[in-house]
C-alpha cells in the first residue's frame, strides 16, 4: 500500500527535476518576427541594389536580424542592413554580414541593439558577390521596393535577442507576451494556469493515494 505515495512523491520529484533542466536550457530567442510566411521567392537583389520594406515593427531588444535572403550561387558580397525609425527618420541600428551559399537565411547582427519597440523601415543593400534570392509571401502588401521601385511581396524577417538566455531569465519576457486582449496581465494568466494545473495534478495524486481498492 505504501508504494502509491512513494511513487507519487518520486514522480513529482522527477517532474520538478525535468522542468528545472528544461528551464535551464539556453538559446538565442526571437524578439519577434513580421510573421510573413515562407511561401516562395519574391524577387532577387543584385549587387548594388537596395531593398526596403516599410511597416516593420522592430521589437525592443533586437540585436540581430534573420533576413530571408539567400546567396543564389556562391558567397554573397557584403550585405548591409539598416533600420530607419518611421517616427524620427533616423537610422537606429545598422549591421553588416556576408551570406554563405545554401538555404540558410543571412543572420545580420545590428548595432546598437534596439532599445524600444520601433515602427521602422528595414533596408538591405547588397555590394558585390552573388545575387540574393528574397523569400517570403509573394502576395504581400506592397510595402516593399527595390531601388525605389515597388516590388510585390513581403520579405520574412525574424528579429533576435542579443544573447542566449535560459528560460528562467526569459520568463518575464515570456509572461509579458501572454496577455493579448489585455483582459489580464501575462503574469496573472500564467498564475491562473499554474494554479489550475497544479490543482488538477494534486487532486489526481490524492485520488490515487486515498483509494484503497
Amino acid at each position: 500500500m505504501g508504494s502509491v505515495p512513494a511513487t507519487i512523491a518520486a514522480g513529482w520529484l522527477l517532474l520538478a527535476a525535468g522542468l528545472a533542466v528544461l528551464m535551464s536550457q539556453s538559446a538565442i530567442r526571437q524578439a519577434g518576427s513580421n510573421r510573413v510566411p515562407l511561401e516562395a521567392a519574391i524577387g532577387k537583389l543584385a549587387a548594388g541594389q537596395r531593398f526596403c520594406q516599410r511597416g516593420e515593427v522592430v521589437p525592443a531588444g533586437t540585436a540581430a536580424l534573420r533576413a530571408y535572403a539567400y546567396p543564389i550561387a556562391r558567397r554573397s558580397g557584403t550585405l548591409t542592413v539598416t533600420v530607419r525609425s518611421d517616427a524620427s527618420g533616423a537610422i537606429v541600428a545598422r549591421g553588416v554580414a556576408v551570406g554563405e551559399p545554401g538555404y540558410e537565411p543571412i543572420l545580420v547582427p545590428v548595432r546598437p541593439a534596439v532599445r524600444d519597440e520601433t515602427p521602422a523601415t528595414v533596408c538591405l543593400a547588397s555590394a558585390g558577390g552573388s545575387p540574393l534570392g528574397l523569400a517570403g509571401e509573394p502576395s504581400g502588401t506592397g510595402s516593399t521596393t527595390v531601388d525605389g521601385r515597388p516590388l510585390r511581396g513581403a520579405l520574412r524577417i525574424v528579429y533576435l535577442q542579443p544573447h542566449a538566455e535560459s528560460w528562467w531569465r526569459f520568463l518575464p519576457t515570456f509572461l509579458s507576451r501572454m496577455s493579448a486582449g489585455e483582459r489580464w496581465s501575462g503574469a496573472q494568466a500564467a498564475l491562473l494556469v499554474l494554479l489550475l494545473s497544479l490543482t488538477a495534478a494534486g487532486i489526481a495524486s490524492w485520488q490515487l493515494a486515498r483509494q484503497r481498492r
Binding site: L15, S33, E117, F174, G181, A200
Partner: protein, 507 residues
Amino acid sequence: MSAGATEERRGRGRRARSRLPSALSTAVGRIPRAGLVCALVATLNAAAWSLVAVPFQIPDESSHYSYVEYLVEHGRPPAPSPIRWSPSLKAVLTDLDTERVILMPLSGTIWNRVERLRLVRDLAHVRGRDGNGGSLSDIPEPPLYYALQTVPFAVGGGGDVLDRLELMRLLSALFAGATVLGVFLFLREALPAHPWTWSVGALAVAFLPLFALMSAGVNPDNLLFAISAAVFFMLARSFRRGLSTRRAVAIGALLALGFMTKMNFVGLLPGAILGLFVAAARERRSWRPGTFRLPLLALAVAAAPALALVALNVLAWERPAFGTGLYSTAAAHSSVPQALAYAWEFYLPRLPGMPSFGLFPFPVRDLWFRGLVGGLGWFEAFFAPWVYDVALIPALTVLALALATLRRRRAAVRGRLAELAVYGALAAGVLLLVAIASYDLYVRRLGDAAEARYLLPLLPLYAGMLALATRGAGARRMRLVGTAIVMLAIAHNAFGLLLEASRYYAA
C-alpha cells in the same frame, strides 16, 4: 373544466418537477466519487489549457465560433455559402494575424505593443455580429453542440469576442469532465475487478495533452468525445447487467445526440448497432425476431430526432440533409480498390504492389503515435524528435502488460469475445470513417484528414488498455505501475502545456 381538476393537474406538475431534481440528484449520487473527482481533474486541466491556447489557434475554432454567433443572431444554423466572418470576428482574426500564425510555426502570436493596442481598440469598437456562420466544411455539421454553446455566448453577450470565446471554451472544459466520467464508468462496467484501475485509466485520459488541447477549444469534437464515452459505457453496462428497456432507450438517445453533434459520429453507429443486437441476443440467448424488440426500440428512439433534424435541414434551413463537405464520398476519380488501398496505407505500411499515396512509411508510429504524443498547436508544434523514440518505451511496455493481462485471463476473454468484437467494431468504424474522409480529401486534392484528434472518440479503449496494463503488472506491482502511468501522464501534460505556450509566446 373544474377548479378542482385544474388544481389537481397543477399539483401533479409540481410533484413531477420536484421529482426531476430528486431523480437527477439520485443519479448523480450513484456515480462513484472517484469518477466525479476524475471528471473534476479533466475540467480543471482543460480550463488551464484554455488560458494558454491562443484565441482561434485551436483547429477550426474561428469557424465554430462563427457558427454559434450565427445561431444566436438568427435562431437557426447557417446554410452553406462562401465564408464571410462577422465584422467583430474578422477584426480579431486580422489583429491576431491568425492565418499567418497558423501558416508559419516559427512565428508566434502577436506580442508587440502596436499590434496589441490595435486588438484592444478593435475589441472595444468593432462589435458587429453579422457573419454567415463559418467555413463551408463546418457549416453542415449538426447544431447540437453549437446550440449548447449559445448559452456561454449569451452570458458573455455584453463582453467582446475574446470574453465570449473564453466562456465557450469553459463549456468545452466541462465536456472534458463528462468524457472522463464516461471513460471511468466504462471501465467500471468493462473491467470491474479492480476499482482502483478505473481511476488510472480515467486520469491518464484527463492528462493526455491532445485531449486537453481539444477540450480547451470551441469544437464539436468535445461533445462527440463525451457522447462516444457514454455510448461505450452504456454498451458495457448492457453487456454486464443486461439490456433493459431503460438502457435501450438511453443508448438510442445517445445515438440521437451523437447524430445531432457531429457527422463523424456515424463511424460509431455500426458498432453501436451491433452492440445492441449482441447484448439483446445474449440476454435472451437466442436470435429469434422477438429478441430484438429492445434494439429496435433503441433505433427508433435514435431515428426520431435524427429524422426531425434531416427534415429541418431540408425543409426549413436550406442545409444538406446529412451534411457534405468533408464527408462527401461522391468525389470524382475515386474507386473502391483505390479507396481500400488508401485506407490500408492510412494506418499500416504499404505492401508491395499497392499504389503510393505519399503517406508515411509506418503511419502507426510516424503519424498516429506521434500525433497522440505531441502534435499540438494547429498540429504543427512537436517535441524534439528523440521524445517520440523515448515515448515508445512506456507505450510498448503498456501494450505488453495489457496483452499479458488478456493472456492470463484468456478464459474470461473467451467468454466475452462477442463484447470485444463490438468494441472492435466501434473502433473499426471510427478508423474507417477517418480513412474514407481523408481519401475523399485526397482525390479532391484538398490534403488529408490525418489528424490524431479524430481517434479521440476511442478514448475509452485507450483507458481500457491502460487499466489492463496496470493489472498486467501483477497484484504486488499493480499500484506501482498504475501510479507511474498517471504520473507519466501528468508529466506529459505539463511538458505539453509548455510546448503549446512556447509555440506561440517564444517561437
